[in-house]
């Protein structure tokens, strides 16, 4: 097998790595300037204002079209997530009951906990 210095694939990978490092270093240098900060923040400030106005406009438009807004979709996703969580809890409780254990009314399955008596391995000669 050819060594790394003559392996075209290894050379290609090395070149990509070096290009990445070089570009990152160059960009970091450019981004450290006050001019960059000024330009980015001017643009960002304008975008934030426009984003707010556009968001409000879209919200009104979607209401008029009788369609759900992004906030409502996020709310629905969160409700689904919470239902999934509750299903998982029910599943855990069922497993618990099948195994003969009891589940608390809060749904948090209180399996018998192991004793809190563990000692560091070095203290009782156990290997790490």
């Amino acid at each position: 097998m050819a060594d790394k210095s003559s392996d075209p694939v290894a050379l290609w990978q090395n070149m990509i790595g070096e290009m990445e490092k070089g570009f990152n270093a160059f960009a970091n240098q450019a981004m450290a300037s006050p001019q960059f900060s000024k330009a980015v923040n001017q643009m960002g400030g304008a975008t934030a204002g426009a984003q707010k106005q556009l968001g409000e406009l879209m919200e009104k438009y979607l209401v008029a079209m009788n369609m759900p807004s992004r906030a409502q979709m996020v709310g629905m996703a969160e409700r689904l997530q919470s239902i999934e969580g509750q299903l998982n809890e029910i599943k855990a409780m069922l497993h618990q009951m099948q195994g003969g254990g009891a589940a608390t009314s809060s749904g948090y399955s209180r399996t018998p906990r192991p004793p809190r008596t563990k000692r560091p391995p070095s203290a009782d000669g156990e290997q790490k």
Partner: protein, 364 residues
Amino acid sequence: MTAAGPDLAGLDLASIPARIQTEVERAIQRSIKGVEYMSSAGPSLGSTPKDILSSRGTMNLYHYRPVADEIYRVPILIVMATTNRGYILDMVPGQSFIEFLLKRGYDVYMLDWTAPKPEEKSLRMEDYVLDFIPHCVEQVQRDSGENDVTVIGYCFGGVLSLLYGSIFADGPMKNLICFTTPVDFREMKLFQNFSDRRYFDVDHLVDSVGNVPPEMILSSFEMLRPASRAASQVQLWENIWNDEFVKSYRMFDRWATDTLPLAGEYFRAITKDLMWDNKLYNDTMTVGGRKVDIADIKVPILHAVAEHDHIVPYDAAKHLIAKIGSVDKEEVILKGGHVSLVAGANAVRRLWPKLDSWLCERST
């Protein structure tokens, strides 16, 4: 030029046919696996069995089910960074920090975050430090029946842990472990420049958008290494025949892009108090009118930092050990970056065993 001879200018000519065959096979595999990649879901992450102990808006407290027959007396509460999801510490079996701790006999809880809702834009630093963390510590105490708690904070979770530990210096925190935790925010040079007070109008931003959108947080992280995303996609294509590489890529890529929004008022406080006035380093920080001085923290502390951390450079993190009041204190500098320090193959070999050997003796 001759074609004869085993070695010409360092090139082993005899190996060329085999090499061509390998590359052709890989090219075929790339096409097949590329289609598979597009049509399949990534691995299931954060699947270590856990129960939710408490949930309030953006805050969730989990308890991971112990797997050892015997556990250490002192439970662990992990405080996750508010910008990212906690499953970075619970990727897949064999690459899960949580699983590692459970197998080593620790009782593990995690304070993890979900996206704050629009109505949570008014959450302030004091809500996190004086309410969420103390509430979770109390829940851990009640659930475990133990008064002492070890706190582990990752990145900004470490900053929140420091603020909490300083204000509640009389307990019940027994040990503190910080991963890549910044103290001197002047040294986060690019973030400093992005948030230059002459040009960055944080009030206008927060008043306009409420919660700071995750896209903005993600792009500010990605701007630190602007070429890395493109380069990692080239690497993915080259290695798409390698199932292990693809699995790892998908795990980390999904986590990195799964950034959380930040509550508006909380972001305003981070920008003004930490990025602009560097109050934690200057010992002028207050939270909800209560003075913060990390010299008040006296519990044993381990601070793990990464040699090549581009998000929290060593210069921003190095003052923690010098400033803290603890006698029993240790800083460990490990190879790796901001994420590979805590997750992935390097962490399995480096950080996790180090943490276990440090913590086990302080957990009884």
